[in-house]
Symmetry: C2
């Protein structure tokens, strides 16, 4: 610890000349606290090593994909065995059918599924299927919710035209009245309502969906013959293996999955209810690698292992241990914090920290002490996190709180 980031700095300097801004998208370290590495040399279980040799216990899990820990043997063996036979061929391998059957068996609303590569592929296909099914155009999304990185839903307006969002209407998460108002605005042109598994917008307290809100979405979609689209890309498989709203007893018509579905191998899935099967055959959605068999074999092994480990329960237990420990440590340092979200995907914010100065200080010092936290985005637990890992990370967090107390 405390080494310089010299290898990281050299790579960043080289990248500046061949990659605009050094890196695109959500993994750009420019958005992270000072001292966070951009480049990684190696990963194992819940641990990462940056290119300067620093080892950390990781609580971002690659921003979601790594749910069993890096290099889970069942997943890697399955991917390797399929790859040795064939990966990207003129058609799928039999594992496509096995994986589709496994998802339909695992996810109660699902009568069928399609596979793609990005979460954005999946949310876009859901939106297109909803429109194809209904012959209508309006899609309701919650203000501030993230559904992908293409013009109809990107958080940036650069290069986006007004027409890209002509048929997007907004409601407020957890506000049934705002949903009713948006449905009224859509009139007889309502194709569907998109909703994330919980409110996980960056840089604000996370909010679980309240049951009345979820029920309102379901009832309005039913009464208007519109599609309820659950965007489970970020949360999928961490809260409940059957879909994140199973605990609420609310089932969507379409759901988008990606991230954790194959423990880091590139895959996304759309699941659909029976009444949308025909609409799904009408749209054209495809990609050069979407029938790639190795990521499907990885996904099948991932989902099988998640069942065997009762993953959501393990993740919850570990997340609660982290949460309890962070609360106790903050209290010892007399630092007011707020913890929100499901324990499997937690967030910790400091009170009175509008510019995240305290959060950044906490994270930078905790990183130096061996734990990789995030100051404003929900974090992720994995099945590779043990109680000992959490306790070790809490020691690093304590160093973070000490640093905050010093600058406080």
């Amino acid at each position: 610890m405390g080494q310089t980031n010299s290898q990281d700095q050299m790579l960043r300097a080289r990248a500046q000349s061949v990659i605009p801004g050094g890196l695109w998208g959500h993994l750009n370290a420019a958005n992270l606290p000072p001292g966070y590495p951009q480049y990684f040399a190696r990963a194992e279980g819940c641990r990462l090593w940056d290119v300067d040799g620093r080892e950390v216990i990781d609580f971002m899990c690659s921003w979601g994909p790594v749910i069993l820990g890096h290099h889970h043997p069942a997943v890697e063996d399955a991917a390797r065995a399929q790859s040795a036979l064939g990966d990207c061929m003129n058609g799928p391998a039999p594992v496509l059918v096995e994986l589709a059957e496994k998802l339909v068996e695992t996810i109660p609303h699902a009568a069928w599924c399609l596979f793609s590569k990005n979460g954005t592929d999946a949310t876009t296909a859901c939106a297109t299927i909803a429109r194809a099914a209904t012959g209508r155009r309006k899609l309701l999304v919650a203000r501030g919710s993230y559904h992908g990185a293409v013009p109809w839903c990107s958080p940036s307006l650069a290069g986006v035209t007004a027409e890209d969002r002509a048929h997007i209407l907004h409601y407020d998460y957890n506000d049934p009245a705002s949903v009713k108002a948006a449905v009224a605005e859509a009139g007889d042109d309502l194709a569907g309502i998109l909703v994330t598994a919980f409110r996980h917008d960056m840089a604000r307290d996370l909010e679980l969906p309240n049951p009345a809100f979820a029920q309102t979405l379901r009832s309005l979609c039913d009464s208007h013959d519109a599609a309820l689209i659950l965007d489970d890309v970020r949360a999928g498989f961490r809260l409940h293996l059957g879909g994140s709203w199973e605990t609420l007893g609310i089932r969507p018509d379409l759901a988008a999955y990606s991230k954790a579905i194959a423990n880091g191998h590139p895959l996304a899935a759309i699941t659909g209810s029976e009444h949308l099967r025909t609409a799904a055959t009408k749209i054209f959605t495809t990609g050069s690698f979407w029938c790639g068999a190795a990521p499907m074999a990885a996904a099948l092994a991932t989902i099988t292992t998640l069942h065997a480990l009762e993953a959501p329960t393990h993740l919850k237990t570990m997340g609660e241990r982290l949460r309890t420990g962070l609360a106790a440590s903050a209290k010892r340092h007399a630092l007011p914090i707020r913890q929100s979200g499901p324990p499997q995907m937690p967030l910790m914010l400091f009170d009175n920290d509008p510019d995240f100065r305290l959060g950044n200080t906490f994270c930078a010092a905790a990183l130096d002490a061996g734990a990789y936290f995030h100051p404003k985005h929900n974090m992720f637990l994995s099945c590779a996190h043990t109680a000992a890992d959490i306790d070790r990370a809490l020691e690093a967090a304590d160093a973070g709180f000490s640093a905050v107390a010093r600058v406080g």
Copy 2:
């Protein structure tokens, strides 16, 4: 040969219940001649084995991705070594920088690049960068050209709204006058012109770009400060390693690559000229697996190997051998055919075959005799095709021509 497709039929039947229509997208065997398998058990070099154990010499190369042949050792070793270190992490591995440097060194117009997963990601990002750079909206595309499978460009209109294409204007490939007319129609709102490397629309003769057409696109983009976007997703790395229009001496401002870039590992890239670097930093484009390191290691090994093998020349030699052999065989059978496109990505059509009855008969019989051709989509050569493979495939083709002569 001549076996039943019993395993394939069983898998198709199972898929019918869990996948809408049995399979989505371009790999759906419902669009192929009778007898073509849907499911594949294994691949090696230029050979595929279907789930019923039939071996074929393949001329689709997974519809483009497989350019060195399946399981090329340099590519697989590189992917495996990177994967053993780490693939999907909290940030990229150093190979990101090495690959970006290699692309910028290989592709003359490129000052920078970005990576994604699908060809559609790349074409969409190019369109968005062009709009962000210019503050204008209109994009020109050739009638019938394929640029991806999302609403702004999908070949299907199901689930697509008029607004998704409000700013798309059309021209005709190889027709400079139609380009000028579309530019005039765009007026002061022209953001860019998209063009495929050659005219490779399905089910018609392929057309190479004529130099005057290419020069017109370049001149109009220059005089209007608009971006010339080369969609090299399908052809990239087969015709010229520096970009498919290098032989014409025309360089784009933005180019989209995918398919062959990593010999079947999932990756796409956008390359850009220096003057669009700032615009590229403004748009938001990202995906959960876009910094995945194993496909980047595969791409670096692929491009290095393509250079070492002088791949375009080898592919051309093999494609010409195939073309010459097909012409001779058709002549022996007195069957009039047309061959079009670059030899590396050839197409053979029968004269007087509007419903592809002759093409389907040819393909079905050739498949039975051990070669996997396509009746109406451009095919692909790979570096794994040897002269002996071509000669063996020509024997299968001869069986195909015999079958056509019998029914013809």
